[in-house]
Symmetry: C2
Subunit: 390 residues, 2 copies
């Protein structure tokens, strides 16, 4: 009996310790994708530590994540079509489904009840219940040409809607999910050749698709959809000798700051500056190499830029007021992604080839910390739960 | 022995139940101030329920709150100078100090380590360690006139700084807290008569103080402080017959949306529309009565306005694109405050005289839910943890 008692006390203490460790706010937490090993590290930004690890998440060579509205659950979209729901408070995999053949991104609805995944194969969008991961809607992306199209640039926007682009068909669709049983689809056709990615401005108003098959980008004003899709920056790239493109830049990385958008130019060693009132080009900023992400510090004062292989050892920081590069950092080969703490005092940087995530002070550019993470790529903090289009 | 075992099992089950209840994400949580009873209700917005209650918080007749960077702890600033730290995961009061004679607001530093409180008496700002609530810096507000001044409009801005206004002295100060032991104060003198409140734009760039003693407002560009404070909207109110002011509007309630700021006009039945590029008046929108808060839906498409006594039973919704009032709601007497869910699908409204917090869908304006809360006033969701200046 004494033995039983001891056992019970041990179990009790173990359970309470576990419980105590998990009882914490999720507001300063996040995850880092370990692209080579199909795992993630759960991190926190207050003391800059690793809290846990979750394995068995499939092919994460091109993965992204969104968060539940309470910030507790991350939904991870893998290259292999895997959709994983992770509890970051306990570092456990809650559920994993293979939802498609080749997924490249996802989004969570405004109310947090639906998770949407865009697929290359079969081309379309699948919508899942955020709690159970049960399929609740399937939207095959059959374009005007009658063929299934790859889907890219999927984002959530206000009004319980998702917006996405059909790569092969050259269309932009809005799916209103207010009634899950009967999604209402609005289609915009002939929006341009081969939209390869899309983004929505932080207010959820302007959806922009980058075009691979022609110059310029496609712009849709979601407050005035009756006006249709408009082509912008049509002179961008025109008549110029194109450079080889080592890596397509991510549009999600557009920085919107001070009435300007900062766009990584495809194939060029430049950041394009666009006036967000007129959507006309306002200038170009020469940078180190081909930019991949151009991300705005939360206060909009700086834009941080990383670069494509083989010059991916560098970060450059642009001052938004002067439009000048004010700092160049060389963290090491394979600078894959940056994520700012929610109020912008620090930035976390994945340095793949050093198996390291580095943390910098964004004012002094001092390196504050380095965490060991296996081949880190995307970094996603829980503050994304509260953002439109992320 | 059997009895002991039963007791242990009961304790175990009790503890684990308590533990399980607390293990949750804080991202969808918040608090509602019960102004008459010195208590708060802890709430969550996913299922729209009350999770707990915390009492013994002193005079909350004019209280506000900020959150720790992990979203777990709320810091409550009471009229009686009380500073309370509340654990919203467990609904417990962690610590409470009476830090001054009459506090009217507070802020948390960019890095989350410092909580600052502004006081009428003794006039100044006191800065506390966010973990322990120990006093770490005291900044008496002695103006150019050599007297202690009431402090108003305290906000946090990037670079570990606080900005605030001296009511009696007519000054704006910036306190750089990078070195807590030696705060660096920058003073702007003769900024205008009797600044009564202040705000900072969501990007943390422009600090604006409302002036009670003269027409217009004082604007400080924190990116270019060498240019000093500039007077804006100097024609606002000038030469017009002033209406009696039933309640000073809150500047914190300014909505910034679509390159415009929406400002509740002091004493007038109007919302002023200001161009945020030029800071010149762009128009006025006639409304129901004297506005108190004008709050922008997170996507910037709508501005919700409540009103001063005796017409405080009403809410009006302005469409930002057309600058028209598109909806008038009558929740009941004492509509004190509104708070949007982080991505804007719902708004929570305090209806004091009905002892009720109501939840509305912001698209359909349908009332979704009503919670019983005793004399509710301010509503503060944890998403504020990630915002600059809130």
């Amino acid at each position: 009996m004494k033995h039983t008692l001891t056992t019970i006390l041990l179990v009790l203490s173990f359970l309470l310790t576990g419980c105590g460790a998990s009882l914490r706010g999720v507001g300063d937490m996040g995850l880092v994708i370990e692209r080579a090993s199909g795992s993630i590290k759960v991190v926190e930004t207050t003391n800059k530590t690793i809290l846990g690890s979750v394995k068995g998440l499939g092919d994460l060579s091109h993965a992204s994540a969104v968060y539940s509205r309470d910030g507790r659950y991350a939904y991870l979209f893998g290259r292999d079509g895997g959709l994983s729901k992770i509890d970051i408070l306990t570092s456990t995999l809650v559920k994993r489904v293979i939802q498609g053949g080749n997924s490249i991104g996802g989004a969570i609805s405004q109310d947090g009840r639906l998770v949407a995944v865009s697929n290359y194969s079969p081309g379309g969008v699948r919508v899942f219940d955020a709690t159970t991961l049960e399929l609740v809607a399937d939207i095959p992306a059959v374009g005007e040409d009658g063929e299934l199209s790859k889907v890219v640039g999927l984002v959530d926007v206000p009004g319980q809607k998702f917006v996405f682009s059909l790569f092969d068909a050259g269309e932009i669709w809005i799916a209103d999910m207010s009634n899950v049983a009967a999604p209402k689809i609005t289609k915009f056709k002939e929006i341009g050749e081969k939209p390869y990615d899309g983004l929505v401005t932080p207010d959820g108003r302007f959806y922009i698709a980058g075009l691979f098959g022609e110059d310029g980008l496609a712009l849709l004003d979601l407050w005035n959809t009756e006006k249709g899709v408009k082509k912008i920056l049509t002179n961008y790239g025109k008549g110029e000798k194109k450079l080889p493109v080592y890596k397509m830049p991510h549009l999600e990385g557009w920085a919107i700051a001070g009435g300007m958008a900062f766009l990584p130019a495809v194939g060029r060693h430049e950041i394009l500056v666009v006036d967000t009132n007129t959507w006309e080009e306002k200038g170009r900023i020469p940078v180190h190499s081909q930019p991949v992400f151009a991300m705005g510090r939360p206060d909009g004062r700086q834009v941080w830029v990383n670069f494509a292989f083989p010059k991916n050892d560098t970060l450059q920081i642009i001052d938004v007021q002067t439009l000048q590069v004010v700092k160049t950092l060389k963290p090491g080969n394979g600078v894959m992604h940056m994520e700012f703490t929610p109020r912008g005092e620090h930035v976390w940087v994945s340095v793949r080839d050093l198996d390291r995530v580095e943390v910098y002070n964004t004012d002094s550019f001092e390196r504050l910390s380095a965490l060991t993470v296996e081949k880190p790529s995307g970094i996603f903090f829980t503050s994304r739960a509260h953002k439109i289009g992320l």
